[in-house]
């Protein structure tokens, strides 16, 4: 594949524009896959008995998994993962992943701020599960031309 990605034009952006939206369907398999890929084998992310023993409502998605996929719609919009220069989140609520039905997490990415001198767009993410946001202050800085 040698598709040259179409980069978004900085000058065409306005604060408040929705640049990407995506729904992620997590299953227990997603958690096991992330555990292996990241090396985070905390059993609260795959064992119901351990999660229950520490008072959790169920097996939780790794916060870093949620952070990891929530930025992907922005990467696809920007066309190149290397354009993300800064990314921060606050973990505010857990994502409980049901063994049978999984969990559906929605991501909406909006232009939060534009720095015309640096040609950097700050994209703010709204990441929600079960009608409530799970990340706070989720901000991605994207360097554009």
């Amino acid at each position: 594949m040698s598709v040259t990605p179409q980069l978004p034009a900085f000058d065409a952006l306005t604060v408040g524009d929705v640049v990407a939206e995506r729904e992620f369907a997590l299953t227990r398999d997603s958690l096991v896959r992330y555990a292996g890929a990241s090396g985070d084998f905390n059993p609260i992310h795959y064992r119901d008995d351990v999660a229950a023993s520490v008072g959790l409502p169920g097996v939780l998605a790794h916060g870093m998994l949620t952070m990891g996929f929530a930025v992907q719609p922005v990467v696809d919009w920007a066309g190149d993962p290397g354009r993300v220069t800064d990314y921060q989140v606050r973990f505010t609520r857990p994502v409980v992943v049901d063994p049978e039905t999984g969990a559906s997490v929605s991501v909406v990415a909006k232009v939060g701020q534009l720095d015309a001198e640096a040609r950097v767009a700050r994209i703010d993410l709204t990441v929600a599960f079960d009608g409530q946001t799970v990340l706070g202050k989720a901000q991605v800085r994207v360097a554009l031309d």
């Binding site: 990605p5 870093m64 992907q72």
Partner: protein
Amino acid sequence: MNPELQGRVFPPTEPYLVGREKVREFARAVFATNPINLDPEAAKAAGYDDVVAPPTFAVVVQEHSLAKLLAEPDAGIDFTRVVHGDQRFTSTRPIVAGDLLTATLTVSSVKTLGAHSMVTAESSITDAAGEHVVTAVSTLVVRGDE
């Protein structure tokens, strides 16, 4: 938690060689679909030497430096009570397969809020040439007795 941890700098981690298949495995695990993360040819066409890691991949390298902090005998951090509060990655350039990375952790702050403590750890990740690649900052909340 030991307040004297603030300002402590830990020795650099063993060099971590970023493998192409590891990047692809991590990319799939975070639902990445961009060909620059997955296909070496697409990455080359975009001007990179090999596949580019997703923005949060640095956590894999950062983790080795956090392990040193959690294992510090006088830190007084009970791992079973640790909750991840915030996370940030600030990059000079993206991580690319083939990079040899080292993380050096500094405890930038230790705070106590009631029964809880908060520690902010900043891991500066550099390449084989000693150049800065990305800084990963985590705030960990250590829950006290309720």
